[in-house]
């Protein structure tokens, strides 16, 4: 049985200017210890998917219209608050893009680190403090005895991200959701944080969902990748297959537009147009308006993910029909 299995998740935002279908029928599952990358451009619904699982969608305007997210037998979207509290923040933890806005600026690091232990594990304060010190040490913060009493603003960006990782992992979660944790950091610091996440994953044996827009980050870290576009998953497969033989036109276009993969000085491939307006009904494939292979069928039928080989699903109708490679 998978650790987490999400089925037909739909999260819509009801705003004054219309209903935004941020996540529109997303299904995937995750095994214990697996690393799943979710890749997409801004507005593709990758973050909203994970916020929905964590119960972090502001309601209103957001609403989870349908779907289930079963974590170890408990549906996180339809369980009681008590059940939910026992899982979220303890067995499933999340880290965010900007550590300055996700740490509480008024609380010392010590209090923030100890909070999950006091709530979830009923530890005494001295015991919690010992665990907090050990957690800081394990994420590579020197001199934790002194630093634990500081406030978030006294740390640099990379250090704050380390503190947030320590905080998320202090209850030894089975699943860590990382929402662009290195986007705000410099490349040399990004390399440190990615190494740290890998090391902690090995030590704790946890599963990781890694949300990012950077295909480079995914390639070294994830076992499996799914690509999202306009609120839907368009392709999902293991990392090597995705990079060496992507099938969905969007994934292929994305790959052709990255400078790192193209010979220097060549004209980069560009995807014409813009992502669709999610507040308008989207009858066909979300990518059809920008796709060079689109036909009338693509614009009329909502495609579903279908396997084209074991472990490789994608949603392009024309690839499924064998029209294009």
């Amino acid at each position: 049985m998978p650790l987490l299995s999400v089925t037909d998740l739909r999260t819509y935002f009801h705003t004054r200017s219309g209903v935004y279908r941020a996540v529109d029928g997303v299904s995937f599952s995750l095994e214990r210890g697996e690393t799943l990358g979710i890749v997409g451009e801004s507005g593709s619904g990758k973050s909203v998917t994970c916020y929905s699982i964590m119960g972090l969608i502001p309601t209103p305007p957001g609403r989870i219209e349908s779907g289930t997210a079963v974590f170890d037998g408990v549906d996180l979207l339809h369980c009681t608050p008590t059940q939910s509290r026992a899982i979220r923040g303890k067995r499933v933890a999340m880290i965010f893009q900007d550590p300055m806005t996700s740490l509480n600026p008024y609380m010392r690091i010590s209090d923030q680190l100890m909070e999950p232990l006091l709530i979830h594990e009923n530890l005494s304060k001295p015991a919690a403090r010992q665990r907090a010190l050990a957690a800081l040490e394990s994420v590579g913060i020197n001199d934790p005895d002194k630093r634990i009493n500081l406030y978030p603003h006294e740390f640099s960006g990379g250090m704050r991200q380390r503190v947030m990782i320590a905080m998320a992992l202090i209850t030894k979660p089975e699943l860590l959701i990382a929402d662009e944790p290195t986007t705000a950091l410099d490349v040399t610091v990004q390399a440190q944080i990615l190494e740290l996440i890998k090391k902690m994953q090995r030590e704790l044996g946890m599963a990781v969902i890694f949300i990012t827009h950077d295909l480079g980050v995914v390639s070294g870290l994830c076992d499996r990748v799914q690509v999202m576009y306009a609120g839907r998953i368009v392709e999902s497969t293991d990392t090597r297959t995705l990079f060496h033989s992507p099938r969905h036109p969007y994934t292929r276009a994305l790959q052709r537009s990255i400078p790192a993969l193209q010979p220097k000085g060549t004209e980069l491939y560009t995807i014409s147009g813009m992502p669709p307006d999610l507040s308008k009904p989207l009858p066909g494939c979300g990518f059809s308006a920008r796709c060079e292979h689109a036909t009338d069928l693509c614009r009329a039928t909502t495609p579903a993910l279908a396997a084209i080989s074991p472990n490789h699903t994608q949603s392009c109708l024309r690839v499924q029909a064998g029209d294009i490679l």
């Binding site: 990379g158 490349v187 994305l254 990255i258």
Partner: protein, 338 residues
């Protein structure tokens, strides 16, 4: 893109000699005391040839944006000279600088912040033309329409406001504004960092095409090495206010000599799982140091895996190391085959 300007031409269009930009730090409320100096740019010597793209890379806080602002004289220079087509900007008066800016324009990182939300595209693009008196009010419509077509925007959007455009389109407007006066040099400060991958490719193509067509010189500042490598003829790597390595774009990325460049190159994740899983990554310890109290000697020595005692004492000069390559490292020759 052929690179005719690999060797700096005898008369570069833009030349920086030992440019220094320091900011004083004062403390106290009523009686300000001078407590220190941020050496944001500390002795940069560079030249840019006509039609050349110079990439400037470095992590946040290394002074690359301050250097851009110094070139445009948006911040006062502490020392050194900035020479644009033979004119020394550091000693020029305000009127002379205003004239010089016709040849020297800037594109900023965030197209959401760099366009005035209360000005239509027409107002934004017409303003430089009117300020510099290069276009009479009669034919300004035609000029603006041409500009918009140059950057791939339909002239019928002329009367729209910035909020009606997407990020990529806004960046096109910002580029059109920079092109309005037909400058010789454009400084682009992280022009694609705020954009999505597919939009980023459009803007990179546009910039490369403009450089070719208009024989522009471009100083392209970014932290993403793969983007810089793609567009630049030469690359300068900055660390804590100083250039540590300078050379041909492909060479610098493929055979970096300075230990910092090596670490920087190795830290970029490659979108290829086979390479990514087998290669050895140099993970630098710690954060970039503060420019208020830079380390003694080579400012990279606390994080450098090859540092020796001499590195703590002597500031390494940027010296020629190989063909078309300058490196500021005392041990560059010793460690070159490590």
């Amino acid at each position: 893109m052929p690179s005719p300007a690999l060797a700096p031409t005898p008369t570069p269009i833009l030349e920086l000699r030992d440019v220094r930009t320091h900011f004083p730090i004062s403390s106290g409320f009523l009686f300000k005391r001078h407590v220190g100096t941020v050496k944001a740019v500390d002795g940069v010597t560079l030249s840019v040839a006509r039609g050349e793209v110079l990439g400037l890379v470095g992590e946040s806080g290394c002074g690359k944006s301050t250097l851009a602002r110094t070139i445009l004289q948006l911040v006062p220079t502490t020392g050194g000279t900035v020479v644009l087509s033979g004119q020394n900007l550091t000693t020029s008066n305000t009127a002379e600088i205003l004239t010089a800016r016709r040849d020297l324009q800037m594109v900023f990182q965030d197209p959401y912040a760099s366009l005035n939300p209360r000005m239509t595209v027409f107002d934004t693009l017409a303003e430089p033309l009117l300020v510099h008196g290069v276009s009479s009010p009669a034919d300004i419509n035609v000029r603006v329409a041409t500009l918009m077509r140059t950057v791939g925007l339909a002239p019928r959007f002329m009367q729209k406001y910035p909020h009606e455009f997407s990020g990529g389109q806004r960046q096109r407007i910002a580029i059109a504004r920079a092109l309005a006066l037909e400058p010789k040099v454009i400084i682009a400060d992280e022009p694609v960092s705020a954009l999505d991958v597919s939009i980023q490719a459009q803007i990179l193509n546009l910039l490369a095409q403009l450089v070719r067509k208009m024989n522009l010189s471009l100083v392209f500042i970014a932290h993403d090495l793969s983007v810089v490598k793609h567009i630049s003829d030469r690359i300068a790597v900055m660390y804590l206010g100083k250039i540590v390595e300078l050379g041909r774009a492909v060479d610098v990325i493929e055979r970096p000599h300075h230990p910092y460049t090596r670490a920087l190159v190795s830290a970029i994740p490659t979108p290829d799982p086979d390479i990514e899983r087998t290669r050895q990554r140099i993970v630098l310890p710690g954060d970039p140091p503060s420019p208020i109290n830079p380390p003694s000697g080579c400012s990279f020595h606390p994080r450098c895996p090859y540092a020796r005692d001499i590195c703590k004492a002597t500031v390494p000069p940027l010296a020629p190391f190989a063909t078309d390559r300058d490196v500021a490292c005392l041990r560059a020759a010793e460690i070159s085959d490590l």
